[in-house]
Symmetry: C2
Subunit: 236 residues, 2 copies
DNA sequence: TTGCGCCATATGTCTATACATTCTAAGGTG
DNA sequence: CACCTTAGAATGTATAGACATATGGCGCAA
């Protein structure tokens, strides 16, 4: 793969930063120096530096120069995978079974559900995810019909609602809460495991510019699933 | 705030996509059309579209055109906070107790430990995190003395090693694995909870440009702690 | 009808230049 | 010494043009 010039400049500086050759707060060469170094026009250098700034690796200050940004030491990139894809990637056969499909109003007094419903009805979708035929996770999802009317006609028997939503509904904001809980009687029955088994609980809500789209609770069998978050080196 | 022209083009298209006016797989106007629409040069249009492509909102195919991308599993930002700070933020009093401080060689046959040690010795640091006096998490950490010789002299009785490392050792890469496990006998005893209690297990390794620095396992009391990850489309 | 090659189309990259905007530091003044 | 002004430095934005390269459709030939 031959890199274009601005890509080469970008990766050169990127590796200098990641290897520690350039420390946080260090000043980068100014654009005119890089023009000399790479024998190219300022626009090309600018494109490389702008990309690094967009990625958060450097900070550019008009009139002052470009500086290596401090690594925001407290935030990592968490991949929020599509389950069928993720299961396949781990070499298993994915399966899905829809258990409950129910059009209903928001539960009275449940502020979460009322916010999600937005005055209209909710579609409740409960289901089971399987890996190699064994239960992997129980999913309880609510979808706002106000936000996604099209889902009323979707065929969700084979394709899990998460995948359908991923393919049809763009979102602008999402929040995921991760915790560990013991399986209650029903979760345990569905996952074919003793009650009290440690489960990874993933709760996620998604919005499209302040309009709530869906809220989901996924109970993963603790021993069968894990999430991975990364910082660094995985930059496209 | 007055947007520059390429920002205006970008946000125009972005909102058209997010609002659903432009559906996934739709074709965008070609660059020359946008030049007409906005009465600007091709470079300006190109900058706007390139930014959208870098953000994953659109896909550009040389020779074919630009297309709205399928909404895909966005990566989310996971806050991995410093525990003392996080506990204080939730309004509790933080405490730490060092249980084990042991200089030792890597366990024979344990590939993980041997990689971390890099031929030299490891510092093993086990401890307990408290919130309002109640056990919150058990931590088992290994630090490479090859990478961080200074930690041999650090006072780690009061300050947890994670905080010390954060303040003294820059790192470039980290990987966190999150799962749910039942507490074994020892974890349960330390957390003052029955054996088998659901615990959130956070395993993290950090590197400084391919040199391993530290590996840590933290067992959180499931009912007392959770992690939050966010995705927001608002770019700075 | 099928397959191959060509060409219009669309994006990718780069140049050279121009002017705007913002920050820094030097130097002069009270 | 403190404060203000100002010149220069550095990035931000935009233009017009040039050549490179991948794509897909159309027409021609076997």
């Amino acid at each position: 793969m031959t890199l274009s010039l601005h890509e080469r400049i970008r990766t050169d500086i990127e590796s200098a930063i990641l290897s520690g050759k350039l420390a946080p707060e260090d000043r980068l060469p100014v654009e005119h120096e890089l023009m000399q170094t790479y024998q190219c026009s300022r626009m090309t250098v600018n494109k490389a530096l702008s990309a690094l700034a967009a990625a958060g690796l450097i900070e550019r200050r008009k009139g002052a120069g470009s500086f290596v940004g401090r690594p925001h030491a407290h935030s990592m990139i968490l991949d929020v995978p599509d389950l069928p894809v993720e299961v396949a990637k781990r070499g298993h056969v994915y399966g899905y079974q829809l258990l409950v499909r129910k059009l209903r109003a928001a539960a009275r007094g449940n502020a979460e559900e009322e916010l999600l419903a937005g005055g209209r009805r909710l579609l409740q979708l409960d289901g089971l995810h399987f890996a190699d035929g064994a239960p992997l996770a129980v999913e309880r999802r609510l979808v706002s019909l106000a936000a996604v009317p099209a889902i009323a006609e979707a065929d969700l028997e084979k394709e899990p609602p998460g995948t359908w939503l991923l393919r049809h509904v763009p979102w602008t904001e999402a929040e995921t809460r991760i915790s560990a809980v013991p399986a209650d009687a029903e979760i345990a029955r569905l996952l074919k495991t003793p009650a009290g088994t440690a489960c990874l609980l993933v709760e996620r809500q998604t919005w499209r510019s302040s309009e709530r789209i869906t809220a989901v609770r996924q109970y993963f069998l603790g021993t069968a699933y894990h999430l991975v978050a990364r910082f660094g080196s995985s930059r496209p």
